[in-house]
Every structure is written in C-alpha cells, then in structure tokens.
Symmetry: C2
DNA sequence: ACAATAATGGACATGATTATCCATTAATCA
DNA sequence: TGATTAATGGATAATCATGTCCATTATTGT
C-alpha cells in the first residue's frame, strides 16, 4: 500500500510538532513526548537517535536533560525531517523498480513521476514544524507569530 | 521509506504494460510475461488473480489460455490498476496516522496532503497502460496510434 | 564518591510484506 | 476417455519493518 514515509518518520513528525507547541526552543524529553502524543517510546527513541545523528537534535543526558532542536522549528520543513529519518534518496527510486531507470534511460513512468514528485516535494517543503505546531490545538502561547508579524 | 505502491502493484504495472506492447487485446500468459519482464512468477500469479477478482482480467484456463484485459489498454489508467491491486482507499489515510483525521477534524497536515494527493492522482490518472506500452521500447507495431489520430 | 536521571546501543520478539511450493480445478486436444 | 496445458488456492518460508527489553554510558546534584 501507499506510504508517504515510514512509521518512524510519522512518529518523528508527531513528536517534533508536539515539542514545538510546548516549548519555544523545541526542548523535550523522550518519555514525556511519547506519553503525550501516544507513540511507542522504545521504538521512537531509536528515531530520536537518528535525528541526533542527522544533526537535527542535540541530546542532553542526565537529570533535566532531553533533546533540543538545533534549528528553530520555523526553519525546519517537513521534507527536512523526512529526509533526515528516511535518507536523502527516499523519493529517488524508480516507481517501476527498474534499476537502470534515470534521465538517460527513463522508464515509461519516469517523466510522469518526476513531475508528480516535484509537486509533492514542493508541498512538503513549504510547511514547517512551526506551521504544524500552530495548526495543532495550541497548548500554550497560541501562535504569537500571527500577531507578531 | 516512501512507497507509491506495493511490490505486487509494481509487478502488475510492468506485466500489464508488457502485455499491451505485445498484443492488440492485451492477451498474455503468466509464465511468459513473468519471464520476459523479470518479475517473480509465483508471487505475480497471486496479483493476476486479484486483477481477475477486480474485473480487470479474464482468466482463460487450459492450453492456449492465459489472461485477457476486459478493457482496452488505452482506457485503463495507472490509478485504475493501483486501486485494483491496493484497494480503493490506499491514498485515503491520514499521513500523521491520526484515526480521527478528516474534513471536520483535520490534522495539521490534512490540507497540505489533500492538495499534494490531488496533483499526484491527477498524474496517475491521465496516463494509461497504452501510454506506458508506447513509451516502452516497442516490440511490435510501434505505436500506430500516433499516426492514426 | 555516590545516587539518580536520561539518552545510547545491542539483542531479541512480533507482524506484515514478499516469495515459493504443490495439489487441485478447468479447459483443450487427440 | 485420457493426456496435456494453464490458472487457482492453500500452506509454508524468507525478508523486512516495527516494536520491546535491558545493560551501559554520560550528566547532574548531593
């Protein structure tokens, strides 16, 4: 069946969105966020590790620790998160599964897919974590951005 | 990772495309098509069964049998095939995995996804099996349609 | 130095997708 | 009727994605 991204990526988006609603600098603890957003903790922790590896999060160990976003949430697009979790090449494979498919040797669906993909990625690129946070039911500071700009 | 559709669906598209290049009425035998397109036979046979169930193919048993398309290849869109194999609702699930997401209770990504999906489905809907067949290296009758219209 | 907290990393369990095998059914031909 | 051909359907295996558990490491505070 169709999958825009893996479960892990879905959890990353939900967790990071929640983090952005809660805290100015996107600081959170794994256990807390997983409990609040209803995503499985043990599994999601692996994803957080990947986001640390990818440079999106900084890990803070010890009491009062957790994770902080290394970049403000309004500068992280959904596409950024997706690529960080899934790898830069998630969207780059031939949809007909032909290994030799490319610009020089396009499969019958190549051009169609390139166009559809462009539009899809454009949508995912223009929405940021902050957008998602604002669109969620605001927990605190209900979107000061709308007034502030 | 990203998946536009399942392996089975990929095989269906490759097999049906090949069938359309070979034969006016899209007639083929499972063993033959699988051999030629390099897709696993035992597995693909299950998919052909599904396409029979879905009314896309008619199965002809016995010597000289095989499958025939019940509809001419230029009237079958990629989206038709995808929906037949994957089910009508493949593209209808919330990308954030929220069960209550819908028009009345949209998730933060709902509108973005609806738009991206529309564009994606439009691309998949306007290409037919005949298009794919013509775009493949033509085995016989190299696209009489181009001259015929 | 010790205790408590929180992330890390490895091993393992579960589930879904993908793939293979084989006996059965239906059709054709001699 | 018997032999051959080709799809069908059920059981089973392999592979990958998802999920859990636990010992370890780093950090903080006492």
């Amino acid at each position: 069946m169709f999958k825009l991204y893996s479960k892990g990526c879905e959890y990353a988006l939900r967790a990071l969105t929640y983090a952005a609603t809660q805290n100015e600098d996107g600081r959170f603890q794994a256990a807390d966020v997983c409990l609040q957003t209803g995503i499985p903790e043990s599994f999601s922790r692996k994803i957080f590790q990947a986001l640390v590896q990818g440079g999106f999060l900084r890990a803070l160990r010890g009491p009062g620790g957790g994770y902080v976003l290394t970049i403000p949430p309004d500068q992280i697009s959904l596409l950024d998160v997706i690529r960080a979790v899934e790898g830069d090449d998630t969207f780059d494979h031939c949809v007909l599964g032909l290994p030799e498919c490319g610009t020089k040797r396009p499969c019958p669906l190549h051009e169609t897919w390139v166009k559809a993909k462009e539009q899809l990625l454009a949508q995912l690129e223009k929405r940021t974590l902050q957008d998602l946070a604002d669109a969620s039911q605001p927990k605190r500071r209900p979107s000061h951005k709308l007034a502030g700009r």
